[in-house]
């Protein structure tokens, strides 16, 4: 089921975005509308994904991980969502594309898999039909050819009897199987980028391990870059090359996984790391981050983590931008001080 280079649209080949990034998100802002009006959900989100790389996105529930992904895919209804900024994919700014152009990119160049494998597949079509549909949507091939590709795709995600499984409806599949189908569907057109939004959260650990393994293997084989969204730091630590941490609709820290986890610079990342329970760790002494994420309508004007931050200082009430040092980003007024303190305390 190889796809010849010629079939690939221009976006992918003309890889001209800065620093060789496949996807480059720049100052992304997102406003959503609900009953009480517009609210800013994402504020100045910037990050890059390089070809073939796996980027982990972590953060607590509601920090805007999914919204970032959906903004990239432009899957938010325009009536209820406003995006600003730049989302550069290859040589195009996705935000400037027409709906038609965008739907050609979706599923073909960027695909996405979702958290809930239970509800992410159309219950009234067989899984085979849903994969075939994807193929037919992007390639001018015969139905037969599309079928073959679909079977191949199911085979490649480790489904033992792909022909039989293709005849089944989603409801007769287990969660793990469904997620495999989702992956098969996402990868059948061999996209350059796969956005995986908490693909294993609803699964058991053993199945989670299978799925993660499969994702990594496939992405390596096909050279697909992955944006891997999760709230599980450990998963990121095991599976990703680089990571960003989000908080309150902003990216607050980013860099190579090993570096960030070894020497977290933002107090929030530190807090997250310390709150993970472990066997043998003295009970009752987990390092919890006090307080809660403020509501989107009541974000502090300065650093958004300031009210919960153990290192909060008056300067933290000023707005803070993101700083780039080497291949790491950090959004904190006091990161340099804190790094030194840490160094001293060590």
């Amino acid at each position: 089921m190889s796809v010849t280079e010629a079939q690939r649209p221009e976006v992918a080949t003309g890889m001209s975005a800065g620093a060789g990034a496949l996807l480059s998100v720049d100052g992304l802002k997102l406003d959503l509308r609900d009953e009480s009006g517009w609210v800013r959900v994402l504020d100045d989100v910037s990050f890059q994904i390089r070809p073939r790389e796996t980027l982990g996105v972590v953060g607590e529930s509601g920090c805007g991980k999914s919204m970032t992904a959906l903004s990239i895919m432009q899957l938010l209804p325009p009536r209820y969502a406003r995006t600003e900024g730049r989302i550069q994919f290859g040589d195009r700014d996705l935000l400037t594309l027409s709906r038609r152009q965008m739907s050609r990119i979706r599923g073909r160049n960027i695909s996405m898999i979702f958290q809930e494998p239970m509800s992410a597949l159309d219950p009234v079509f067989t899984v085979g039909a849903q994969i075939i549909e994807t193929v037919l949507c992007h390639f001018k091939v015969s139905r037969r050819e599309a079928e073959e590709r679909a079977i191949d795709a199911l085979d490649s995600v480790g489904i033992a009897a792909p022909r039989e499984i293709a005849q089944l409806y989603p409801m007769s599949l287990s969660g793990g199987m469904r997620q495999r189908v989702m992956i098969a569907m996402a990868l059948v057109c061999e996209p350059e980028l796969l956005i995986a939004d908490e693909p294993t959260t609803a699964l058991d650990v053993t199945i989670q391990a299978q799925i993660m393994d499969l994702l990594l293997k496939l992405s390596q084989q096909k050279g697909t870059a992955i944006m891997f969204i999760t709230h599980n730091l450990a998963l990121v630590s095991q599976n990703c090359d680089r990571m960003i941490t989000m908080y309150g609709g902003q990216v607050i820290e980013g860099g190579p996984v090993a570096d960030v986890l070894a020497t977290p610079r933002h107090p929030y990342t530190t807090g997250l790391l310390h709150s993970v329970p472990e066997a043998g760790r003295a009970r009752g002494t987990l390092n919890a981050i006090p307080g809660r994420v403020p509501s989107l309508r009541a974000m502090p004007p300065g650093c958004r983590f300031e009210p919960r931050c153990p290192h909060s200082a008056p300067v933290c009430r000023q707005p803070v931008g993101i700083a780039q040092t080497g291949d790491r980003q950090i959004r904190c007024h006091r990161w340099q001080e804190l790094t030194q303190q840490q160094a001293v305390s060590l």
């Binding site: 899957l75 599923g107 695909s111 996405m112 809930e116 159309d122 009234v124 949507c137 996402a186």
Partner: protein, 318 residues
């Protein structure tokens, strides 16, 4: 499909007690009605002796259980007896009248569907706009309007003033299919408002729910055009809802037909049953009620079967 076959069998098994209970309910109700068919049978200038004679002749003096049992036994052999008042075989009465009612009901369903479904889709895809509000308001109107009143107004406007349609009557669908449709148009129109309204509402909300569900996002994420998402996946997912609504409406349409048939002088079972119930024409009421109940149950069964073919989840859950 394996699951479907099983479901049909199960439903058929359930059907038997339901039908027996249903016949019992009607029999009991008709029995409880005060008044005596013997009085009517005896005629305008009857004497009391004659009435007693007739009572014995027809077995009205037997206890309830005997009469019911007798009837049930015959009904099991498809013998519903004869009308007390016109001596017509009930089965013949039904076979002559049911087609008229069915034509009306299905015609009304059809009219309701071709208006309600597009309106529902339109409202759902334009959710929150003026158009949506206008359509939902229209739907409310459709539910609130008394059918027979609408029928009367339709008759006076379309039939009597403009002479577009015949005011009354019916033509047998078997003798003159086009004529039958022509005759049935006004009454079906009067009946259909409810179907239109309910379908509009339900299609709208079901489609909204489907369109906001997770898998729609998946479909769009894999590059499907909005039109394909709506027409292929959205509609297929609400098909079960539409069918279910149609099934429920089927029953309610019979209800409305009772009155609308009399306004339009349609010789259907609706007018027959109300007329016979008032006259305590046991065999007719019984027979018609039984046939209606079987029809309703059968249609619901059909809806379930179709649903389970359309939607595998239904097959699994039953």
């Amino acid at each position: 499909m394996h699951g479907v076959g099983k479901m049909v069998l199960r439903r058929l098994a359930q059907l038997i007690p339901v039908m027996i209970i249903a016949t019992f309910v009607v029999f009991a109700l008709v029995f409880l009605m005060p008044g005596d068919p013997a009085v009517t049978l005896a005629g305008e200038f009857a004497t009391e002796a004659r009435i007693n004679e007739i009572r014995a002749l027809y077995g009205f003096d037997q206890p309830f259980w005997v009469q019911y049992g007798h009837w049930l036994w015959n009904a099991l052999q498809f013998d519903f007896g004869r009308s007390l008042f016109s001596n017509e075989e009930v089965s013949r009465l039904i076979s002559m009248r049911l087609p008229h009612t069915l034509l009306l009901v299905f015609y009304a369903l059809f009219l309701g569907a071709i208006t309600g479904i597009p309106l529902g889709i339109l409202a759902a895809t334009r959710q929150g706009t003026r158009l949506d509000k206008a359509i939902t308001s229209l739907a409310s109107l459709g539910v609130a309007v008394p059918n027979f009143w609408l029928g009367i107004i339709l008759v006076s406007a379309l039939a009597l003033d403009w002479r577009l349609f015949p005011a009354t009557g019916a033509v047998s669908i078997f003798e003159d299919p086009l004529g039958a449709l022509y005759y049935a148009t006004l009454p079906a129109l009067a009946l259909s408002t409810n179907v239109t309204a309910v379908l509009t509402r339900q299609v709208r909300s079901a489609l909204l729910e489907v369109l906001s569900s997770q898998f729609i996002r998946t479909l769009r994420a894999k590059g499907l055009r909005p039109a394909a998402v709506l027409w292929r996946h959205g509609l297929r997912n609400v098909a079960a809802t539409m069918l279910t609504i149609a099934g429920l409406q089927f029953n309610l349409l019979f209800s409305s037909a009772v009155i609308v048939e009399s306004v339009f002088a349609v010789p259907g079972v609706g007018s027959l049953i109300s007329y016979s119930a008032l006259n305590k024409d046991f065999p007719v009421v019984q027979g018609v009620a039984l046939v209606l109940v079987v029809l309703v149950i059968f249609v619901n069964l059909l809806v379930d079967v179709l649903n389970s073919i359309l939607d595998p989840r239904v097959a699994a859950s039953t």
